[in-house]
């Protein structure tokens, strides 16, 4: 029983990380039809910068981590907004080219990070409490999972609030539903594009700093390897659906944890099979609508 509980909660913790990456991907795809391959780079860059600033302020303490997280969020948002303004906007409505540009950026930036910080992972220090465990009904849950779950829940809540309560949220929701109609009504959706990119980048940036806490290290390839899972989560959840991404993130991570424990470390394989199964049964994903792109 305690094993199942442990797997379940660590699974949700990992799912929280997947969600932070996948939420931005899903929103961006839903509104603009762009599958953003550079998303992993936002995450890695935020992880590195958050760590660099955090350790200079106060290494291995809560204050350092908090500042690192803020720096990560800002880095992710700025990097994403620049990507949108400089590269994506020029290729407006040419989806294949937009994907190709993000592919190129993803490859180039990872190489650049390797050049700056080296290709080997760097161990990082974190607050002592995060390295300990909490006993819940006999299961020893690593404390960093609580941080992940809390942050992801907060991000989910904030994004939902933004989408439901603000003017731009309304435009974005309408744009996901029917972009042509929104444009026809005389609303400039391009500013919404930049905002969506910045929000997605901010979530990924937070994810980058939290990923470095989760894995205990920062590495140039961290974002890319998480990105593949985030893609799978996005597709299973239904491209463009935020709640779909949240559900799929938890589902994928829990499946992964259970398969790793009970089926001899076949977690990655189980995730891929889950993706194939979902796509074959319901090609639009769990909560996806019929795509018009």
């Amino acid at each position: 029983m305690s094993t199942i509980l442990l797997l379940l909660i660590t699974g949700v913790g990992l799912g929280a990380l997947y969600f932070l990456v996948a939420s931005g991907l899903s929103l961006i795809y839903g509104l603009m039809g762009v599958l953003n391959f550079a998303h992993g780079s936002f995450l890695t860059l935020a992880g590195f910068l958050g760590w660099e600033v955090g350790r200079r302020v106060s290494d291995g303490t809560w204050a350092g981590l908090l500042i690192g997280m803020l720096v990560g969020i800002a880095t992710g948002a700025i990097a994403a907004a620049i990507t949108e303004l400089v590269f994506i906007r020029k290729l407006y409505n040419r989806h294949i080219e937009q994907v190709l540009v993000t592919v190129g950026l993803g490859l180039a930036t990872v190489a650049l990070f390797e050049g700056i910080w080296g290709s080997d992972p760097i161990r990082i220090a974190k607050p002592a409490w995060l390295g300990q465990t909490t006993n819940i009904l006999g299961a020893n849950i690593p404390n960093d999972r609580w941080l992940l779950i809390g942050c992801a829940a907060l991000v989910l809540g904030l994004i939902v609030l933004f989408l439901k309560k603000t003017k731009y949220g309304l435009i974005i929701r309408a744009g996901v539903e029917n972009r042509t109609m929104v444009t026809a009504l005389g609303i400039d959706v391009r500013r919404a594009f930049t905002i969506v990119f910045a929000i997605g980048g901010a979530a990924a940036g937070l994810g980058g700093v939290l990923a470095s806490v989760y894995y205990g290290q920062v590495a140039a390839h961290q974002g890319t390897s998480l990105l593949i899972y985030a893609f799978i989560v996005t597709v299973i959840g239904g491209l463009g659906s935020l709640s779909g991404a949240a559900i799929a993130a938890v589902l994928v991570a829990v499946i992964q944890q259970f398969a790793n424990f009970y089926l001899g470390g076949t977690g990655d394989l189980a995730v891929v099979l889950a993706l194939a199964a979902v796509l074959l049964v319901k090609p639009t994903g769990l909560l996806g609508k019929k795509t018009t792109h």
């Binding site: 294949i96 190129g104 180039a108 597709v235 796509l279």
Partner: protein, 366 residues
């Protein structure tokens, strides 16, 4: 008459290029900065052979993406299946069949495997289109990557990869001195890949495929079946990639998990777009230019004058993939036709006034 002579002209150029490539190992041409040494040296031949195999692989991807409009992120799977398939088959067959037959039977079985995997993956992945198709192919390639890295059945060697059992290979393919034979083998594979592409593209099936890329609904309305056509081409591209993989594993006498990762497929995409989407010779030029750039930029990175630059310049310049990635971004943004597209624009401009402008609609999905 004009058209007739133009076709013979093209065939003539093709044959001439093949002849030049074929006699390179017998000559001592030295191009400093591009080739690591004179053309008869094993080092240079090995690099050129690798470039031609990558070009053959790029041609198979051209068939998928350029002609069929199928954006696959899992094409490395088939290349790796060819490379790993041959090495593993040879190990498995070695105790069972006569020594002289091991190599031949292993090749036949590997090709059979490629046909089977191509049809299986294609049959599943082609049930969805667009981005979902890309994701399913990516997922399959990722699954293969996991299998290989896990050292499944003690056969794939984990992170270390596999080696080809040298004592079962024909003597002509073993040893540094015989690099030129491997070079000719790579050239033959490239020519075969090219001819298969020509054959597929000029067949009725190829026309249906191109039509499906442009307007699937219309093809359906005409009573044709896009699924069958796509599946056939997916399998053909898979087998071609596996053949290139066989050449690769022979050339390198082994394979590592590096060729199974998603980045390797992305590199292919970069090559095809760099060369020019929709152009056969674009894929070849892209493959060769990319490989040579990659190798030479790595050599350049360790050269003295780059090392003496300040960090701001030194770090980006010493990462070949950074330069290639940014070059790719620039090509996508400012020269969507790639190298082939640029060449076409230039030749069309120079022929302006003689013929009417033949502006080919850019072969990208939109």
């Amino acid at each position: 008459m004009q058209r007739f002579s133009s076709i013979w002209f093209k065939i003539g150029i093709g044959v001439a290029l093949i002849v030049v490539a074929a006699v390179l190992p017998l000559l001592a041409i030295n191009i400093p900065g591009i080739l690591p040494g004179p053309t008869y040296t094993p080092g240079t031949l090995s690099m050129l052979a690798y470039a031609m195999l990558i070009a053959a692989l790029a041609l198979s991807y051209h068939l998928l993406f350029g002609v069929g409009g199928m954006l696959s992120f899992g094409h490395a799977l088939f290349f790796a299946a060819g490379a790993y398939g041959l090495a593993v088959m040879m190990r498995l067959l070695a105790p069972q069949v006569p020594e002289s037959a091991v190599f031949l039977i292993a090749i036949i079985l590997t090709l059979g495997l490629a046909v089977a995997v191509g049809n299986l993956v294609g049959a599943l992945a082609l049930r969805v289109t667009g981005i979902s198709f890309a994701m399913v192919t990516l997922a399959f390639a990722q699954a293969f990557n996991v299998l290989v890295r896990r050292n499944t059945g003690g056969l794939t060697g984990g992170e270390e990869g596999v080696t080809v059992p040298v004592n079962f290979l024909p003597d002509a393919l073993v040893g540094v001195l015989n690099t030129r034979n491997l070079y000719w083998l790579a050239l033959a594979i490239l020519v075969i890949a090219y001819l298969v592409c020509v054959w597929v593209q000029n067949s009725r099936l190829g026309h249906v495929l191109a039509a499906t890329r442009e307007n699937e609904l219309r093809v359906r309305v005409l009573g044709l079946r896009p699924y069958t056509v796509r599946l056939f081409v997916f399998a053909v591209a898979g087998v071609l990639a596996a053949v290139a993989g066989i050449g690769f594993v022979l050339l390198q006498s082994g394979a590592t998990p590096r060729i199974t990762i998603a980045d390797f497929t992305l590199t292919l995409l970069v090559i095809v777009v760099l060369g020019g989407v929709g152009y056969r010779w674009g894929a070849i030029v892209g493959g060769i230019v990319y490989t040579i750039l990659d190798q030479r930029l790595s050599a350049l990175a360790s050269s003295g004058w780059i090392q003496s630059l300040p960090d701001v310049l030194r770090i980006p310049l010493s990462e070949p993939l950074f330069i290639l990635g940014m070059l790719f971004v620039l090509v996508v943004m400012f020269a969507p036709g790639g190298i082939a597209g640029l060449a076409k624009t230039l030749t069309t401009r120079s022929a302006k006034g003689v013929r009417t402008m033949d502006v080919k609609a850019s072969a990208n999905g939109q």
